[in-house]
């Protein structure tokens, strides 16, 4: 009995690195969840500020008045299928990691 338990324990040893990695991944996800939940109010405030600024601008004039030729080209690059209008309603946050700006 003791021998079989010992063998079972031995069999677990090769799995320990995987268990360790899994634990590291899990703890990082927990940190991620906590960052998300702690930053939720700040994120909502940033979005609210942007929406307010945007509304103030659009109240003055329509957003897309300055559609010069270059921009029209970009809009046409979307891959809408079957003649459907291009879906451009995504309103998430794109984070650009750019610690240094070099403005000449």
């Amino acid at each position: 009995m003791a021998a079989s338990s010992f063998v079972a324990l031995l069999a677990i040893i090769p799995l320990l690195p995987f268990l360790g990695l899994w634990l590291v991944k899990l703890s990082m996800r927990v940190v991620g969840w906590s960052l998300e939940s702690e930053g939720r109010d700040r994120r909502a405030a940033i979005i609210a500020k942007i929406v307010k600024d945007r509304n103030a601008v659009s109240a003055g004039h329509h957003l897309s008045v300055e559609a010069d030729e270059g921009w029209e080209k970009i809009e046409r690059t979307g891959t809408a299928e079957n003649g459907q209008p291009l879906r451009n309603t995504w309103d998430g946050i794109v984070g650009f990691f750019h610690p240094f700006w070099y403005l000449p």
Partner: protein, 424 residues
């Protein structure tokens, strides 16, 4: 970078572009107007937000006198953690080579799609190989892999390359600025998915349209061009201005046309670069070409335009330049490139257009000198035709092409972001 943000804003007007920066003095409205005036790029100010980071010192090379590569990479993890404390994005993009920061994002937030736009690999296989080089012609670390210290360096670099490869494999969408960078990234990051579709080449936006509008390439302008060679590059050792000086000296002595060499570049203040340019001036004097050579530091764009209009040849001396935007600018202005047979100039820029050559690839000072002489001796019509071909070939580096390719990659990221939002 500005072009990328502008293209993103235009394609998804309701999206918010958050820029994590360490420059606390950036004012949003001033920046938007500067970008408009300098690059003619329109940013939507109301959709832009700056997130100010205070731990930038962790990614400065000066913080790590030894083990700089590893130090900076781990430092970028610290900085990225600060960024996520301030704001968790829906898509995370690195454009400055901090792959470790992107990997951190993937592990903290597996549902956030990530991307990296790689301008040069943090470590390259060329760097590893150059340690064993015996010719001394393979960049800054050429032949540095001997002795105990050299072997230690080699092992450190190998371990770092492995770690860099592991982080790279965590990134969802990879873009590279050139074929050279793509080749190294594919080799180092060894993706599990199909390597042939991994890491798209997205050339950086070059002011091709502006140069084509401001600089004429006509039979009349051809007559006004001088036998002048132009090199636009920062005055830094790896740009190898010395090779160009030596090559020019050989050409100068063999030519009876009194050719000129013009070196334009910026000098980073309070760095060894200031001494470097002093040494280059000395070298020009020793080679007895100082009267035919002009050094121009931190030239305004108007001066660069003047030289692009009247010079005949654009050159570069750097081994394995990652892309080489200066060469593209020269080509777009109608100059004939005589460039190093490596890196971006070889793989992306000086490649035949419609089956005919648009410039010359060289390595040794003698080869450069021969190529300078070859351009000068070309029949006037042949030379003009080569300028026209070269200019036409630069269309693929234009700002419009960049925006199109950037959006293609962004669409993948947005689709991923939308799918994670919709699914329970």
């Amino acid at each position: 970078m500005w072009a990328a943000i502008a293209a993103t804003q235009r394609r998804w007007p309701s999206a918010i572009c958050a820029v994590y920066t360490g420059d606390h003095d950036i004012d949003r409205s001033v920046l938007v107007s500067t970008v408009k005036n300098r690059f003619d790029i329109t940013l939507q100010e109301h959709s832009l937000v700056f997130i100010y980071l205070s731990r930038r010192r962790y990614v400065l090379p000066s913080t790590y006198p030894s083990f700089t590569l590893l130090g900076q990479s781990l430092g970028s993890v610290v900085l990225a953690y600060e960024a996520f404390q301030l704001l968790v994005p829906d898509i995370f993009i690195d454009t400055m080579g901090y792959a470790f920061a992107v990997a951190l994002c993937k592990y903290l937030f597996p549902k956030v799609p990530t991307a990296a736009y790689v301008h040069y690999p943090t470590i390259s296989t060329d760097m590893l190989e150059s340690l064993d080089d015996k010719t001394g012609a393979k960049g800054m670390h050429s032949g540095a892999g001997t002795g105990l210290k050299g072997k230690g360096k080699k092992n450190y670099w190998r371990i770092f390359a492995w770690l860099y490869g592991w982080t790279g494999r965590q990134i969802d969408v990879v873009m590279c600025n050139s074929t050279w960078t793509q080749g190294h990234i594919r080799q180092l990051w060894k993706p599990r998915r199909d390597p042939s579709s991994f890491a798209a080449v997205v050339y950086p936006p070059c002011p091709v349209e502006e140069l084509q509008a401001k600089i004429s390439v006509t039979p009349e302008s051809e007559r006004a061009r001088e036998d002048s060679i132009l090199y636009i590059a920062q005055f830094r050792p790896e740009k190898n201005h010395s090779l160009i000086l030596q090559a020019f000296a050989k050409y100068y002595r063999s030519s009876n046309k009194k050719p000129k060499l013009v070196l334009i570049g910026s000098v980073r203040t309070n760095t060894p670069d200031e001494k470097h340019i002093y040494n280059l001036r000395l070298e020009a004097r020793e080679l007895k070409i100082n009267e035919a050579t002009t050094f121009i530091c931190d030239a305004p764009f108007s001066v660069i335009l003047q030289h692009l209009q009247k010079s005949s040849i654009i050159t570069n001396g750097m081994y394995s330049e990652h892309f080489g935007i200066g060469n593209v600018e020269g080509l777009a202005a109608g100059l004939i490139p005589v460039v190093h047979n490596s890196g971006g100039p070889k793989l992306d820029i000086v490649i035949p257009y419609e089956g005919e050559i648009i410039g010359y690839l060289t390595e040794s000072d003698q080869e450069y000198a021969d190529a300078f002489a070859k351009v000068a001796s070309l029949d006037a019509q042949q030379r003009y035709a080569m300028r026209v071909r070269g200019r036409a070939s630069t269309q693929r580096f234009s700002e419009a092409v960049f925006a199109k390719k950037w959006i293609e990659q962004m669409e993948t990221l947005v689709e991923m972001a939308e799918s994670t939002t919709v699914s329970p």
